[in-house]
Structure formats: C-alpha cells, structure tokens
C-alpha cells in the first residue's frame, strides 16, 4: 500500500501500467465508461489482452475489432437499446480479426467474482446460475454446499485483474477520487486489481458532498489522469449526457469491417486535433 497515487498523462499511464497479455478490467455500468483510456490502449496497439466488463459495450467492440483482445469475460454483450455488438459477434462467430475466447457470466455472478476479488477471497457465493446452461460453459462456476444447511449454491471464482481502469467525475489534489450517480461495480473492480488507474473530469480542491456518491481512497490508484469527456459516448453525471445517437449510429458503423476500420482511423487512431 505504500505507493501513492500520482497525476499522470493517459499515454504514460497506459504505457506504464498496461502490458501485452494483461487482464484488464474497464468498468462503468453504462455510466462513466472509460472510453478515452480504452482508445489509448488501442492507439498503443496493446495485444493479447483478457478484457473484463459486465457489459462490453462499444468500447470492447472497438478493442476487439482492432485486435487488442484474445479473451473477453463478460455478462451482457449487446449495444444497449440498439442491438448487437457486431465486431464482438464477428470475432466470436468467425474468428475475425482473430479468434476470441469468451468466458460468460451472469451479472450477479461476475459482480460476485469482483466482490471476492476485492475482498481477497478465492471465490464468491451466490444463489445463482441454477437451472441454466451457463454453468456448463464456465469453468469458473462450481457448486458449493452450505456447511450448516446443506443447501447447494454456486461458487464463482474471484477475478483479480492486473489492471482496472475507471472514469470518475472528480479527484482532489491528494488523488482521492469521487464518483456519483450510478456507481456500478467500480469500487470492487478497482479493489480487486493489482493496479488501478482512473481518468477524471476535473480536479477540485475539496469534494462537495453529493447524493449517491462514493469516494475511493488515493491509496487505491497508481495514476490519476485529468481527461475531460473521458467517458464519451457514455456520460458523466453532472458533466455530460449519454450520446444516444452515437450508440444508434454505431450499429451501422460497426456492421462492416471496412467501414469500422476507416471510422476508427478517423476518429480514434488519428483524430483531427489530436
């Protein structure tokens, strides 16, 4: 616990803390998805990553389509309110641009895998997966018996990413981090990881108390990066709204590989003004 958070740049933080072959969690449940950090991972051409997110969302579609991933651990892989993630589907269905291994949970299962990871336990317990075919296709779920009642429950193996990346609204000057609104699984994803990095909308002198807010200690982060708009096209409550047209447009952009690649080139790899 002795290395304290420090302010950094996105290119430095991704270079120093994310390596080829790492297991990387980018969390944010619809809200506060760390898109900018994901794009920097793509720009730096990271390879063979095991990517973890409850909802892969467009950011994983982009990472997968650009060939960064060898495996995805997830629990719901759609474009919310729109339809499919075409790049992820093509990787699963046709092995394009490269074969993609998947490990598929339910939300409750993956949530409890993060909880166990954050708590330093090798597994979590839930009354889940019962009667489903998921359990047959997931070696990280097992039956466990209650030593008191004999009830059979599910154990899910902890996830402990090498790196977790999140986006938050604010950091203070010490590097403590505040997020509010839908807080999802970010605390557990950060605490389950060996290293964590956070992009924030801004740095403030003092946190103003907010409803439904969460403060994460500076002790948990290797790097804090000021990245306004870092969760676009998702949103940061109090700073931006979800860019629903982007999500709708993605369906057309991502359906065809060539269109996707040209869009990524223009908008992510060498965007105007970057």
């Amino acid at each position: 616990m002795r290395i304290l958070a420090h302010f950094s740049t996105l290119s430095e933080a991704v270079r120093d803390h994310i390596h080829d072959g790492d297991t990387v969690s980018l969390e944010g449940f619809t809200h506060l998805i760390p898109y900018e950090a994901g794009h920097e991972i793509i720009r730096q051409g990271k390879r063979d990553l095991t990517l973890i997110r409850l909802t892969p969302d467009l950011i994983f579609d982009q990472l997968i389509g650009m060939g960064c991933a060898r495996k995805v651990i997830f629990s719901w892989g759609g474009n919310p309110g729109v339809g499919s993630l075409h790049r992820m589907r093509e990787a699963i269905e046709k092995g394009q641009p490269k074969p993609l291994e998947i490990l598929e949970h339910s939300h409750a299962g993956l949530v409890n895998a993060y909880v166990a990871g954050a708590a330093g336990l090798p597994f979590g317990v839930l009354r889940g997966y019962r009667g489903t075919d998921l359990i047959e296709h997931n070696s990280q779920v097992a039956v466990i018996e209650c030593p008191f009642t004999g009830e059979k429950l599910s154990a899910v193996r902890a996830v402990n990413p090498d790196v977790t990346v999140i986006h938050a609204q604010q950091a203070d000057r010490d590097g403590n981090v505040m997020l509010w609104g839908i807080v999802g699984i970010q605390k557990e994803a950060v605490m389950a990881a060996t290293r964590a990095i956070v992009t924030v909308e801004e740095v403030v002198d003092r946190f103003e108390p907010r409803p439904n807010s969460l403060i994460l200690s500076r002790l948990l982060f290797k790097a804090v990066i000021v990245t306004p708009g870092g969760s676009h096209p998702s949103y940061a409550q109090g700073y931006s709204v979800r860019d629903n047209p982007y999500y709708v447009a993605w369906d057309g952009i991502s359906r065809d590989r060539a269109t996707f690649l040209s869009w990524m080139e223009q908008n992510v790899m060498s965007p105007a003004g970057k």
């Binding site: 629990s75 719901w76 309110g81 019962r130 075919d133 609104g181 557990e188 409803p211 409550q237």
Partner: protein, 255 residues
C-alpha cells in the same frame, strides 16, 4: 356507441403487462417494453408501484423511457441508488423483489428462456447478448412476467440454451433444485397471455387479445399448445391507457 380504437400489437402487450402490476409492488424492470409497462402502470392505476432497474436505481420515476438501464434520469429521479453488489445480493437475491420482467429470443413450453445463442454454443448461428441480470432475476424475484413476440422462431419445442430457468422440465423440477420462488407466472405476447398449468407447469393459453384467433396462436407456437378450459378475452386498451402510454412514448422521442 364508442369509436373503435386502433392500437399496435406492442401497445396491447405493454398495456396487458401494466395491468398486472399493482400499487406497492416492487418491480425489477428491464429496458424496452417492460420499462414502458411499469411506467404506464405508474402513470395510471399503480402510482406507488416501485421500480428498480439493475443499474441500482431504486424507486426511480423517469419522465421518459430510458434507452439504456444506466441513463442519467434513472439515477437522478431515484429514491436511492445502490451499487451492483447491493442490488443483486441485498435486494434481488434476498427476496425483496415482487415481480421481475424478462424477455428472450426463445421460450419453450415450460417457459425456460434463451437470450444467449441460436445454434450450438461453440459454433453459434447467431450470438445474442447473453444473460445480464436474467438468470438471477428468474430465480430471485417472487414471480416473473415474460414478455416477447410470439412466432415459431421464438416459441420453440426446445430452446437452444437455457439462459434463465422457467419451470425446467415441468412438474416440481424447479422446486427440486431448491428454488422457492414461483418463476414465470404469465407470458405476454402480441396474441394473448399464457400461464403455466398448476400441476404440469406447461404453458397454456389463458387469454386471447381482441381480434386474435386460436388458429393464429397455434400457428405461432412451435409445439402443440394447450388451451385453458376457460379461455378469457383480453379487454381492449382503454382510451386512458392508450393516451397515457402514447404520452410516455412521445416524451421519450422528444426527450
């Protein structure tokens, strides 16, 4: 004589779902039709129906329908917003949810649901989004309302993958796994309502929507569908229901 109202199949499904909700019910809601139905109930006969989305927003009162379960308005209008471990463990798993809504790409005669894959898991014909919150909603909520379009691609003899357990192989097979919740108590389609037989747990057609024939329902079902002895007729949408629903949806489009 009142003028005949015109309405879409989706509107009929949404209104039929809303009618099943009552004041004080604690409803676990997903995006799309379930969200529309629960908000319609709130706008009409069940203003104190409590909505929770799996994003952790409890008692939320959106003025328009969210495109995603994480839309900002859900959290801004919520009584409380909790983390995902809390919503799944302390609320859903702990048995606090009265009604959960589920959709699916396929359903079988025992109301088992598939939202994972069409074709073999390892060589999918169509890869669907997957489980999300569904498997634990299916066993954690006291009862489940299923809403989906009925045709021979969705109502199949055997689902390609059980994402969410309904009544498994019928009879007591669900209870034998140690599950105490009721599971799917009703399936709402654009043609009517189906409910499990109390003993066999096989879905039977219990209500027919206005203007729908038994032949149409049978033709849209991939197995030999049983019909309840007392088949009921769904009352058509009322002016109030339709205008409340359209009001919600126009706010959504303009929002």
């Amino acid at each position: 004589m009142t003028q005949e109202l015109t309405y879409t199949a989706d509107e009929m499904m949404t209104i039929a779902a809303a009618r099943l909700l009552s004041n004080g019910m604690f409803c676990f809601v997903g995006i799309g039709l379930p969200s529309a139905a629960a908000n319609l109930a709130r706008a009409t006969h069940a203003p104190d129906c409590v909505l929770v989305y799996e994003s952790g927003t409890i008692g939320t009162k959106p003025s328009r329908l969210p495109l995603s379960i994480g839309d900002g308005e859900l959290s801004e209008t919520a009584e409380v917003v909790v983390s995902l471990p809390e919503i799944f463990n302390y609320w859903l798993q702990a048995g606090r949810v009265d009604v959960g809504f589920l959709g699916a790409a396929q359903i079988d005669r025992f109301a088992n649901l598939n939202s994972t894959v069409i074709g073999p898991y390892d060589q999918p014909k169509i890869r669907l989004p997957g489980a999300g919150g569904a498997p634990e909603i299916a066993t954690g909520a006291r009862e489940i309302i299923v809403v989906l379009r009925q045709n021979t691609r969705t109502f199949v003899e055997k689902v390609d993958f059980i994402t969410s357990m309904g009544h498994l192989t019928g009879g007591d097979s669900r209870q034998e796994l140690g599950i105490k919740t009721k599971g799917p108590t009703v399936v709402i389609t654009q043609l009517g309502l189906l409910r499990p037989d109390p003993a066999t747990k096989e879905l039977r057609l219990t209500d027919l929507h206005p203007g729908v024939t038994l032949q149409q329902v049978q033709a849209a079902t991939g197995w030999n569908l049983q019909i309840a002895a007392e088949l009921k007729q769904t009352p058509p949408p009322t002016v109030q229901e339709l205008s409340a629903l359209r009001d919600i949806q126009s706010r959504t489009k303009n929002g």
